[in-house]
């Protein structure tokens, strides 16, 4: 079995923070923790290539690094891709998650990474990937590699993967069918009894947790501010030029409102499968309040309304998707020098 392993500059043995700017390099065979990993994978497993990149370089040039890693993994005819373990190293976790996610979707081979639950990469990629919970300490390297190797072997052999607790990976937030001995009512009452008597119990449905986002400061002078309208209600120009999906959207668009005082239903359509679109179709200002914003602009209440609105469809979408869309929109907002955004959500 041919394996490609990704490491950062530190675990790749190049250096510490002073070498975090190094570009992607490749080594023949296993390096650093890859040596033990290769042994643990056992059988005919061989790390044919180790890719090493500085954490700063990888995060600052993510698209370029993903593209070259994809190419190298393909050239190596890899059947398995492993990144990390990354423990609490945030940049390392982010790029390892991004690389695994890209390799998995572009090359359709099994991928495994490992990081601490608090690593920002875990938050971003836990839904899309099997991420072994490495905990924060690299002193646990061996234990983590054992779990990574076990899971990787199962994935390659297409064996059934157990629950997060059994295999040691971070909860992905997936729901799957299972035969159980007791009805839901019985299980619930047992859980409540355990809870009130201080006994141990485990919820079958752990809600996704969101990190609190600090509130941005108030806009000081709105009369000088550039304001942008964004919607997740799926309003798109007739014909849906960016083919934004009405459910689990992977795309978003920016649509000109230059010279328009309000939006006409004839020019737009709604790509959103989660609400009755007739009212917005009749008058899109009911979703993207352009007419009222133009009045505010004319009255000098705001400095300028940006000449495009951004749109996507917010329905049944995995967080990894929506977070990417959010980041891309935020980059656009920054690039356009926008001071404030009004987001309308259905």
């Amino acid at each position: 079995m041919r394996v490609v392993h990704y490491l950062n500059q530190f675990f790749g043995g190049v250096g510490g923070e002073e070498r975090a700017g190094m570009r992607l390099e490749e080594r023949e065979g296993a390096a650093g923790p890859g040596r033990l990993l290769e042994q643990l994978l056992g059988g005919n497993a061989k790390i044919v290539k180790t890719l090493v990149c500085g954490d700063n370089y990888a995060v600052e040039h993510q698209d370029e690094v993903i593209a070259s890693v994809l190419k190298k993994v393909q050239e190596a005819k890899a059947e398995l891709f492993i990144a990390g373990p990354c423990f609490e190293a945030g940049r390392y976790g982010m790029i390892s998650g991004a690389l695994c996610s890209a390799v998995q979707s572009e090359l359709a081979i099994p991928v495994v990474t490992a990081m601490a639950g608090e690593n920002p990469g875990a938050d971003l990629y836990r839904e899309a990937l099997y991420i072994i919970d490495s905990g924060p300490s690299s002193a646990k390297m061996r234990d983590v590699l054992v779990k990574m190797a076990e899971l990787a072997k199962k994935l390659v052999a297409r064996e059934e993967i157990g629950l997060p607790g059994e295999e040691g990976y971070l909860r992905r937030g997936l729901i799957r069918d299972e035969f159980v001995e007791q009805t839901a009512a019985k299980r619930l009452v047992d859980m409540i009894m355990a809870k009130v008597t201080g006994g141990p119990f485990e919820s079958e449905m752990v809600p996704t947790s969101f990190e609190p986002i600090p509130m941005p400061p108030a806009v000081k002078d709105l009369s000088k501010a550039r304001v942008m309208l964004i919607t997740d209600g799926g309003l798109v120009p007739k014909g849906n030029p960016d083919r934004i999906e009405g459910s689990a959207a992977t795309r978003w668009g920016a649509y000109s409102i230059e010279g328009l005082d309000d939006l006409k239903g004839d020019d737009y359509e709604i790509s959103h499968g989660g609400y009755d679109p007739r009212f917005v179709q009749e008058d899109p200002d009911r979703l993207v309040p352009l007419d009222a914003m133009r009045e505010m602009e004319r009255e000098g209440k705001i400095g300028k309304l940006h000449n495009e609105f951004l749109s996507t469809s917010g329905l049944a979408n995995p967080l990894s998707n929506t977070r990417r869309i959010g980041r891309e929109m935020a980059e656009k907002v920054k690039k356009e020098g926008i001071d404030a955004v009004i987001l309308t959500s259905t």
């Binding site: 969101f210 509130m215 679109p277 009045e295 404030a340 009004i342 987001l343």
Partner: protein, 60 residues
């Protein structure tokens, strides 16, 4: 950023920190039961509330 939405629990869950309540999921910035002029006025007020929220700061 301020979010205008009628799905308040979702906005709260994801930690949106400036939220103005909209007028229904099917027309968050409108109300089809009103006359055209009344609806325009409602939208103006909604947008004014949103602008007010943008200028508000966090309180202890």
């Amino acid at each position: 950023m301020v979010q205008i939405t009628s799905a308040l629990p979702i906005a709260k869950m994801v930690g949106s920190n400036r939220v103005v309540l909209g007028h229904g999921i099917v027309h968050v910035a409108g109300d089809a039961s009103l006359s055209f002029q009344e609806e325009k006025e409602l939208r103006r007020n909604l947008v004014r509330d949103a602008l007010k929220a943008l200028q508000s700061a966090e309180k202890e």
